[in-house]
Amino acid sequence: MIRRAIALAWLRVRREKGRTILGVAGITAIGALLFDMLLLGNGLLVSFRERLDRSGFDVRVIASESAVIAGPPIERVTAKTAILRRAPSIAAVQRVRLGSADVEGVQAAHHVTVAGVDPDALVPWSMIDGTFPSVGGPPAAIVINRNMSRVFHLMVGSRLVLEGRCGAALHPLPLQAQVSGIAAFQNDATDALTAASSYAAVAALCGESDSDRADMLLIRSNAAAGGADAAAAAARAALPDLHVLTNEQIVERFSRIEFSYFRQLSSVLTAVTLFFGLLLVAVLLTVSVNQQLGEMAALRALGLSRGRVMAGVLCESALLIGIGGTAAIPIGGMLSIWLDHILRSLPGIPADARFFVFTARALAIHAALLVAGAVLAALYPMRLVAVLPIAETLRREVVS
């Protein structure tokens, strides 16, 4: 029965071109938006997870649960780092101290974010040019991002003076620095000015050479000794006063708190777009059924069962939504690339962040919503043909 219903519905879809074009075009437009909402709903989270994983570290230790990136500092960090490095489940530990500075001789609007790390340990960036020497200075070896290189006309070997805008000292001493390399930093916005140097150099830059504090500890787990969970457990046992989060937990936390806005936004827009899609197909099918009540009644009179004519309406709905929904995927994909480009060009957005990420899950939800949509859109017109009184309709059609 379903095969025959599909065959007849397909003929109708092919030959009633005006209605089909209207329906498919509408569903394609609505479906593209729906698909984009699904990509947006999960995309930022997927992108965030990818960026965390790309850093090379899978566990983070911070002083306060309230701020993952920059909370209060971790005190006596040298000893704590040493403790962590002894754990078998931990392959590498990096302490990160964040500061801010101006480049001497350049207008004050250009603030530079400076990260201080242990040059001997694994570093959270990718070198593009040059190196990050483990020993040296003065001048202090400094790694800069491409944006900083472009804005200040710096290249490997260039010298500059940084004036700290961080720490306890009101007027910290200028830091003589020499560019040793150009690197791609995580979380860099397209317009961000970022640099990194040794932990000691950044402490000096902030006027806190004698302090022993860091903003964050980054841990790479030992995959052969239990991975991130084992490393996090070891860190929690060793440093019970600090907060330890695996990448998984950070993503979960962002999903629950920071990114919930995007999820809610996309959920609302998904529901709205789906509703309009349903409305469009339901109206088209209802009008179509109402225009052909006589033919429907005649089909029933000729011996087509109630289920058979209902299946016909359902198949038409499925074909219209299926064709439109399939066409919506490449169009939605292209639209998402364009929208992603616009959003990523906003100030402060990490250059490698993506808002719309294609995932099999998004595709599966898109398909499931379309299937549900086809059924829902067909419900009312199906009911119309189901309760159609054959004899009365034939009589009425003749009289009219």
């Binding site: 030959r15 058979r308 059609e397």
Partner: protein, 225 residues
């Protein structure tokens, strides 16, 4: 073939019940040709709908091949209509997006006839009604008479033992109506039982038996000499 026993049909209307048919009994034998005449609103079409199993009597029973169709569930009644009864309507009710060929083929496909047999049967039927050369035309490209002939071919698709026609010439001019009447004559001669509801005396006169109705009752019956 088909027998209505003491059937009544009452429609519940806001202004009160309407007795469209009052205790009517009628039997139609195999290969018989019966016409039903009477003024508008006398219950002719209601009788035809009840004989065809597209409506059920308020009281009484309609037996098709010995089965009380009124007592059957909807699906089973649909199956009886599909396999045993052909219906022709005044307004043809062809599916507008299908060609003449596809309209005729539709009931065959619905009853599960294989593709090769469908093709052969559809071709034969369109030749039978003289429309083989119009097979690829859609209803909008056919004249009224051609549409009615396609509708008749469609009604005959599953070789029904009984063909019911409700004002089959009502939308046609006299000459075209005469073609349909001639086609009915041929059909009946080939062994199909016919019940034709009509206002047209010329159509009614072709039947072997004519039933006269008035106010929901059979008031007379005549046989062609």
């Amino acid at each position: 073939m088909v027998a209505a026993r003491d059937i009544s049909r009452v429609f519940e209307m806001p202004a009160g019940p309407v007795h469209a048919l009052r205790r009517v009994s009628l039997a139609v034998d195999a290969a018989e040709y019966v016409s039903v005449v009477g003024p508008s609103g006398c219950g002719k079409s209601t009788l035809l709908h009840l004989l065809g199993g597209i409506d059920v009597p308020t009281t009484g029973s309609v037996m098709v091949d010995g089965v009380d169709v009124g007592s059957l569930p909807d699906n089973a009644r649909s199956a009886v209509r599909l396999k045993r009864i052909g219906l022709v309507f005044q307004r043809f009710f062809l599916l507008p997006m299908l060609t003449a060929w596809e309209n005729v083929e539709l009931p065959l496909a619905e009853s599960g006839v294989g593709r090769a047999e469908r093709r052969r049967r559809t071709k034969d039927l369109l030749e039978y009604v003289g429309l083989a050369e119009r097979a690829d035309h859609r209803p909008a490209q056919l004249s009224g008479g051609e549409m009615q002939r396609v509708a008749i071919a469609r009604a005959l698709a599953n070789r029904p033992a009984l063909l019911l026609a409700d004002e089959p010439t009502g939308e046609l001019d006299q000459a075209t109506g005469a073609q349909i009447v001639a086609l009915f004559d041929r059909l009946n001669a080939d062994g199909t039982a016919l019940v034709v509801v009509t206002h047209d005396a010329a159509v009614a006169s072709r039947a072997g038996r004519t039933i006269q109705m008035r106010d929901g009752s059979i008031v007379g019956e005549s046989h062609r000499s």
